[in-house]
């Protein structure tokens, strides 16, 4: 089979993993070396597909053959999709060739399970090792980690990769048992725990300067390096998976409600120091299983869950403030969860832009962490007016009912207005299932 045909099958098979992040790793570049590659703080999106998703990494499977039979998965054992398998060299060559043309930031490699978990993990590690050691590649590498693989293999993966991820797949243990019978929730969680401790240990060791020196210098070119370059590589000692770990949960393949999903996320962030939990609306796949009838993917629900996730991580919201088992197990699809919270807690508004603390400002619908920062910064100079907020490009329509400024004190009737929700919801939005 030609590489181009393999690529079409193995990219198609990889697209249900939502992550494409190339951010938050150690900063490094190829200065002074004969190789290529660098990382940036934020990562770069080199293209966008018409599904609105960023293309930052070459996201492929090594093979879509799989001995697991997870009902929701396009690559499950019982599916009749076309199968293909890259050699490790083909993946390495594709990554380097794409990188040299500035198509990508690096590689996100995953795989179906072939032979057994250890064999599969070894194959993934071989690719990463070759990129780093044979090619001195300094770009970004994200490796999917097979939870049943031995710890020594997981350790090797973290030496070469920037990020590792193990998918939790489903929000509840019962769902995992019924939909992914070969997977095991204990094994998944214990591997996440292993990753967490390796990541933390490596950081601690580096800060105490005990870390063994792992560098990405091409073997044969070590001698040719100038003094400067050697100093540089020493400074950027490679940490274990410096971009941390992430995971993914499928939304809408089982009957779990948003409360269950967000509670599970909260716990994943807290217990394993996850950098990100990705949510993937269960979407029609080629040759789907009889067990899961296909419908439109719940994209709006996925979007609301992401918003809630953001509120928990950057705005200081608790899960219980957004959803609860009794009265509101699902997020409102009509309005975003922050506005929903504000409408249920009208008594704290209006908030004085010139006096309120950061935590309180973050509760104002229409104000994000960056704008809150700018407000705090500029109100040190003078009391802020509506005109100042407008100049900061804030949407006055959104925030006006919830604030007061030097020149604006809304009548309390505005916040108590029964139609406030209707006023703030974009009427067009009701017709939209996608945005």
């Amino acid at each position: 089979m030609e590489v181009i045909e393999k690529l079409s099958i193995l990219a198609d098979a990889a697209k249900y993993d939502a992550s494409c992040a190339s951010s938050g790793t150690q900063l490094r570049d190829s200065k002074g070396s004969s190789s290529i590659g660098s990382t940036t703080g934020m990562g770069i999106c080199h293209s966008y597909a018409p599904d609105g998703r960023c293309i930052s990494l070459l996201k492929i499977l090594l093979t879509n053959l799989c001995i697991y039979d997870c009902v929701y998965c396009v690559n499950r054992h019982s599916s009749n999709v076309h199968r293909a398998r890259f050699t490790t060299k083909e993946v390495v060559d594709l990554t380097i060739s794409f990188y040299k043309r500035n198509y990508i930031e690096g590689l996100f490699l995953s795989s179906g399970i072939i032979q057994n978990p250890n064999y599969t993990m070894e194959q993934l590690v071989t690719v990463a090792k070759s990129l780093r050691e044979d090619h001195g590649f300094r770009g970004y590498i994200h490796l999917k980690t097979i939870p049943d693989a031995d710890e020594s293999l997981i350790h090797q993966a973290g030496i070469y990769a920037d990020r590792l991820s193990i998918n939790i797949e489903l929000p509840s243990t019962e769902s995992l048992i019924s939909l992914a019978p070969e997977k095991n929730v204990k094994s998944i969680r214990s591997s996440m725990g292993t990753l967490k401790s390796h990541i933390e240990e490596s950081k601690e060791e580096q800060s105490s300067k005990k870390v063994s020196r792992i560098t990405y210098v091409k073997k044969e070119s070590k001698k040719a390096l100038t003094k400067n370059a050697v100093r540089k590589t020493k400074r950027s000692e490679k940490l274990f998976a410096p971009a941390g770990q992430s995971t993914q949960m499928i939304v809408g393949a089982d009957s779990s409600n948003d409360f269950k999903i967000l509670t599970t996320s909260h716990q994943l962030y807290k217990s394993f120091g996850m950098r990100r939990v990705y949510y993937s609306a269960f979407s029609p796949i080629p040759d789907a299983s009889k067990q899961l009838p296909l419908t439109e993917p719940p994209l709006l629900r996925e979007h609301r869950i992401y918003q809630a996730d953001w509120l928990m991580r950057f705005y200081g919201f608790q899960v219980s403030e957004l959803v609860n088992t009794q009265t509101q197990p699902m997020l409102d699809l009509d309005i975003d969860p922050k506005l929903n919270w504000a409408l249920r807690n009208r008594d704290i508004f209006p908030i004085d832009i010139n006096r309120a603390d950061r935590e309180i400002l973050l509760r104002v619908p229409g104000l994000g962490p960056r704008n809150v920062q700018r407000i705090l910064q500029s109100r040190a100079f003078h009391r802020l007016s509506l005109e100042d907020l407008k100049r900061m490009r804030l949407s006055l329509k959104k925030i006006k009912p919830f604030i007061s400024t030097a020149d604006y004190h809304p009548a309390s009737s505005l916040i108590d207005h029964e139609n406030l929700k209707a006023k703030l919801v974009d009427p067009k939005q009701h017709q939209l299932t996608l945005f």
Binding site: K15, P284, S289, S378
Partner: protein, 293 residues
């Protein structure tokens, strides 16, 4: 009698070109309203104004303030000015000189007052330049030129909105240190060959190679990583504005993919489930595997 002057700069001049003049004027106490920055080829009235002398680059560069006279400026000003001076607006140098003057003579903390009109404007310019720079890092597409006995050379054609080539060339150098490359743009070209960075004047698109053998593979990837069940064209266009499309090899796929998406999704939904072909005994047996370890 004033010490008013006018300064002639190139249309695509940036911070480095502006800096010696700004330093000269600041040290000679020339107030912002007396400095006329000109950065296009249109004659304006100041050139012929007898009260206004041209400050030449030699004068500006030869002027070295003594140690005791050094004027210190906050590092944040330099960062802001490097960016906002790339924004192709005829007033950029005048505005930045005015801000410099105000920082030195009026308010040391001026930059933090983001509601000040000058600061607001400079920040807006810097932000646009930052975005343009980010898009350049993202959307430059190198095409390989092969040579018989030499390493290949990678060449890209890019059309930046602002004068960002110099500001962005270090990024490309540090990322593609081990290969030879050129980025050609209409106003300035940058080359990294055998470990040396050089700049040459702008050129047109015909100077750049038209295609690369790898582009078919890249398009195959783009085609297959797209999920037709999640069409969100607006989200795509917000991040990858149409003005960049004509230099992206994958862009020819966008319209057909959008048109076929609905049908592709429906086909997946309506397709009848098939019976598995692989024997189920080849599935994973967790217990056996755990016991074998």
């Amino acid at each position: 009698m004033t010490n008013a002057c006018f300064i002639q700069l190139d249309e695509y001049a940036t911070y480095e070109d502006w800096y010696p003049y700004a330093r000269y004027c600041l040290h000679h106490h020339i107030v912002p309203s007396d400095v006329h920055w000109q950065n296009d080829n249109i004659d304006d009235l100041f050139c012929n104004d007898s009260n206004s002398q041209q400050l030449t680059i030699e004068q500006a560069q030869n002027f070295k303030p003594g140690n005791s006279n050094q004027i210190r400026v906050n590092r944040n000003f330099v960062i802001l000015a490097r960016y906002s001076c790339c924004f192709l607006h005829p007033d950029r140098f005048a505005v930045m000189y005015r801000i410099l003057w105000r920082v030195v003579h009026e308010d040391n903390l001026l930059l933090a007052d983001i509601t000040d009109p000058d600061i607001h404007l400079a920040n807006r310019w810097a932000k646009a330049v930052g975005r343009d720079r980010h898009k350049m890092k993202a959307f430059v597409r190198f095409k390989e030129i092969k040579f018989a006995n030499e390493d290949p050379h990678y060449v890209a054609w890019f059309e930046p909105e602002h004068a960002i080539v110099k500001l962005t060339s270090d990024f490309f150098r540090d990322r593609f240190y081990g290969m030879d490359w050129s980025i050609l743009t209409p106003y300035l070209c940058v080359h990294w060959v055998k470990g040396t960075l050089t700049f040459t004047q702008g050129c047109d698109k015909s100077q750049a190679p038209q295609e690369d053998a790898l582009e078919d593979l890249w398009r195959t990837y783009y085609l297959n990583i797209f999920n037709p069940a999640r069409l969100k064209v607006k989200a795509m266009c917000a991040e990858m504005p149409k003005k960049y499309w004509h230099n992206l090899p994958e862009s020819s796929l966008i319209d057909p993919l959008i048109k076929q998406a609905e049908r592709a999704k429906q086909a997946m939904i309506e397709k009848k489930p098939t019976d598995p072909l692989l024997p189920s005994k080849t599935k994973f047996d967790r217990e056996k595997w755990i016991n074998s370890k």
